[in-house]
């Protein structure tokens, strides 16, 4: 320990280094005259393509709310951070938002893994997260509100449409190899078999993220589809892999009349970055289309175009999910009279807000919302023509009824159950962190 008596220099250096480390600890006291809203969407990295738009949507909604006079007499303040498409960073940034910035709620995440990463943090610190993207279900957290579609609000109706209206008999379930396609395809496979489709009439294929060489797979699809029975592809292919997939389909001469593809991840925004020629006639299932002609939707689209100062920008389903989620949160805070998480969580259940496409969205006790399901055909202007839609809103189901292990499980956050995974057989609620 002779070092201590050494020159002053290293002490200074040591101090500087420690200061750098400790600076992160000094949490600035939050100003009390605003309500902070966290926006946790990747602005760089692979997911920036999808998530940047949602950040802008949130800023627009917050701006709008402030113009209306804010919330509880206070102005809303957006706190935007960039988790950079890095999953551990999502958890870190969520913690930063909740402890350092003390946000009242967080709107964010896109991929399942980012949500899974954030989940323990949100639960530990009792935050509120609004998750706006269609996902695989099999989850219901006390602290998360799922405003995107559960599988029964997107996949099952789409398959019904193909089966009943297009008389499809052979099925190709193609997806990117991650949890959303895996679960969706598992549910669909069980569902199709229950409807009497034979094993040999179902083909399942998984590809990695960003897969760009689809030649062999499309050739296989073509072969599978040429066996004489009407064939359709149910695509859970994610993001970037879609463009090369559809291009290859078009080039190999697979037209929408022969083998229609119904996609769950291709919306207006993705289409705006694609050459739509090879996609025309293919289908997508969503809960919102920009082309749906309602007064509310027209106003929303105008507002978005004005805000983003680009008349060519489009709106899409996750944007509507944030729109509904944010407005539900505002209503709940007004109802509770406070931003206290427990009170707001309680107040949120049962809150109703009109969809942009008509009908009313309601926050259910399982923290999912009720939504209409629309199926549209892609047009070459990058918009959809609705060819089918449910006649009323469908309630989001957290735990699928078509999977044996999750069939007995329900989510209900109201007393007396108050559990996200209550097993109706064993009457148990396992694995809760609170």
């Amino acid at each position: 320990m002779k070092i201590l008596s050494n020159s002053f220099h290293k002490l200074a250096t040591a101090a500087a280094l420690s200061a750098a480390l400790l600076a992160t600890a000094g949490s600035a006291r939050a100003e009390e005259d605003t309500i902070k809203v966290g926006v946790l969407h990747s602005l760089s990295g692979t997911m920036a393509i999808s998530e940047t738009t949602l950040k802008d949507t949130m800023l627009m909604l917050i701006d709008e709310q402030n113009k209306k006079g804010g919330l509880l007499g206070k102005k809303l303040e957006a706190v935007v951070v960039d988790p950079a498409s890095n999953w551990p960073l999502f958890a870190e940034k969520a913690r930063e938002l909740l402890t350092k910035d003390k946000v009242a709620s967080i709107f964010g995440c896109w991929t399942s893994v980012s949500r899974k990463s954030v989940l323990p943090v949100i639960e530990e610190l009792n935050g509120i997260l609004f998750y706006p993207v269609q996902y695989e279900g099999e989850e219901s957290s006390k602290n998360v509100f799922y405003t995107g579609a559960a599988p029964n609000q997107q996949a099952i109706p789409a398959v019904d449409y193909l089966m009943n209206d297009l008389k499809v008999e052979r099925w190709i379930l193609a997806g990117t190899d991650y949890v959303y396609p895996r679960t969706t395809n598992k549910i669909l496979e069980a569902y199709l078999k229950a409807k009497g489709v034979k094993e040999k009439d179902i083909m399942i294929n998984y590809t990695p993220f960003g897969h760009s060489d689809w030649q062999s797979i499309v050739a296989d699809i073509k072969k599978f589809g040429s066996a004489g029975k009407k064939t359709a592809v149910v695509s859970t292919i994610n993001g970037d892999a879609n463009i090369p997939f559809y291009k290859e389909l078009g080039n190999q001469g697979v037209s929408a009349q022969d083998i229609p593809v119904v996609a769950f991840s291709v919306g207006e925004e993705e289409l705006s970055g694609m050459d739509t020629k090879p996609l025309v006639g293919h289908l997508a299932a969503w809960n919102y289309f920009m082309s749906v002609d309602t007064t509310k939707n027209a106003a929303f689209i105008q507002q978005w175009k004005d805000y983003i100062k680009n008349p060519k920008r489009v709106t899409n389903d996750p944007m509507e999910a944030h729109y509904i989620g944010f407005n539900m949160w505002v209503k709940a805070v007004e109802k509770a009279g406070t931003t206290d998480p427990d009170a707001v969580q309680k107040a949120l259940i049962g809150v109703e807000f009109p969809n942009l496409t008509g009908g009313i969205a309601k926050m259910l006790p399982n923290h999912h919302i009720s939504k209409p399901v629309l199926i549209g055909e892609i047009q070459d202007d990058g918009q959809f023509v609705t060819v089918w839609q449910t006649n009323k809103v469908v309630d989001g189901d957290a735990w699928s009824d078509y999977l044996p292990e999750s069939k007995p499980i329900i989510a209900d956050w109201t007393a007396p159950i108050s559990c996200g995974n209550y097993n109706t057989k064993t009457k148990k609620c396992s694995g809760q962190n609170y």
Binding site: L11, L43, W87, K116, Y178, P208, S406, N433
Partner: protein, 370 residues
């Protein structure tokens, strides 16, 4: 401890590390949550993360800075250690998973696995898991290194195949059939050794553990590079053929350092996972491994403590900038990398040395004559 006298930066870095490692857990244990001396869970886990990265950077500096092997896949060993730890933590969940299955983790239940795959056996035991933290990356590094060094693969060829290695592992771990949770990886941990992983005490302990591992590793590394073994390794870096002609079995020395560094990286991964709460295949991505190289280069290659300074500074900058200017932080980071290379060829450590001892000229490695 002679080197501490010769290089004062060593002492400063060690002292700073010791200060962080001791003061923060100590403060948190004796003060209540609203005291100004209290560190929030956010800061604790953030600093813990930086220290893990510092350990990772240190491991790369051993193999790159001293043995001259530019490994573009160091992240693979880090991730393997992390997965070993993650598997232990997954097994600790027991019946508290959402499906309440006592044996299988949730993701297996939901992908219809009927039983635990054989490679998951033993991970419920902490000792075994810890062993695997070192063995899994160690064995991979041994096999890979033995093949590569024996056939004298050097330079960029070696760098690129280490990149191929981590890329292949990335793709493999993405596959759900592998039984490691696919893209979602392992998450939703509950306990470590029976203690709640989210409790403040465990967080502080993890920080203490990480800090002391880092200090220990730094001293160990310094001892190794100062030993005869370390000098041979340094000699190999500077003139491989000459060392071979002198009768040393170059490939064995290289292999030794490579495996040692891989194990160190594995330890960093194991410490990292409980603190950030998730391990998933993106840790294998070639870009992550590149970033490690960047930390070491920014800090100053071949100085050991330079890697620590680099790792902490780059990651700190990332934390601050991603919050401060989410739209433009990549400009700053990219610009910083360019400037550091152009203006500070010896990294930040080189700058410190120049400032402290303007007349001291460093050789390429930043090593001073002993």
């Amino acid at each position: 401890m002679n080197f501490l006298k010769q290089d004062k930066t060593y002492a400063s870095v060690l002292m700073a590390l010791a200060a962080v490692t001791l003061i923060i857990p100590f403060c948190n244990l004796i003060t209540s949550a609203d005291s100004p001396l209290h560190f929030s869970a956010y800061s604790v886990s953030l600093i813990g993360k930086y220290l893990c990265f510092a350990l990772l950077g240190l491991s790369l500096d051993m193999v790159w800075g001293y043995a001259g092997i530019l490994v573009l896949g160091q992240g693979a060993f880090f991730a393997l250690g992390g997965y070993a730890m993650g598997m232990y933590l997954m097994r600790q969940i027991g019946t508290r998973g959402v499906y309440g299955n006592p044996e299988l983790p949730d993701f297996m239940v939901f992908l219809n696995w009927s039983e635990l795959p054989w490679y998951w056996y033993g991970f419920e035991n902490f000792g075994f898991a810890m062993l695997m933290v070192f063995l899994a990356p160690g064995i991979l590094a041994f096999v890979f290194g033995w093949l590569a060094f024996r056939s004298r693969v050097t330079g960029v060829y070696l760098s690129i195949i280490t990149q191929a290695l981590t890329y292949a592992l990335l793709l493999a771990f993405f596959r759900n059939e592998m039984g490691f949770g696919g893209n979602n990886g392992l998450t939703d941990f509950k306990d470590i050794l029976g203690f709640n992983i989210q409790s403040e005490a465990v967080r502080s302990m993890m920080l203490l553990l990480t800090g002391s591992s880092l200090i220990g590793a730094l001293l160990l590394c310094r001892w190794i590079v100062g030993s005869k073994l370390g000098r041979v390794v340094t000699a190999i870096r500077d003139q491989e053929s000459r060392v071979r002609f002198l009768g040393y079995r170059v490939e064995l020395f290289k292999l030794w350092v490579f495996v040692f560094a891989a194990m160190l990286a594995g330890l960093a991964g194991a410490l990292y996972v409980p603190q950030v709460g998730i391990i998933n295949p993106s840790e294998f991505s070639p870009l992550n491994s590149l970033e490690i190289v960047i930390w070491v280069a920014v800090g100053g290659r071949g100085t050991l403590y330079g890697a620590i300074i680099g790792a902490v500074l780059v990651n700190y900058a990332k934390t601050v900038l991603t919050g401060l200017m989410p739209d433009a932080w990549l400009f700053c980071l990219g610009g910083a990398f360019i400037l550091v290379t152009l203006l500070l060829p010896d990294g930040i450590v080189g700058l410190l040395h120049r400032r402290i001892k303007p007349n001291l000229t460093l050789n390429a490695s930043g090593e001073q004559p002993a």
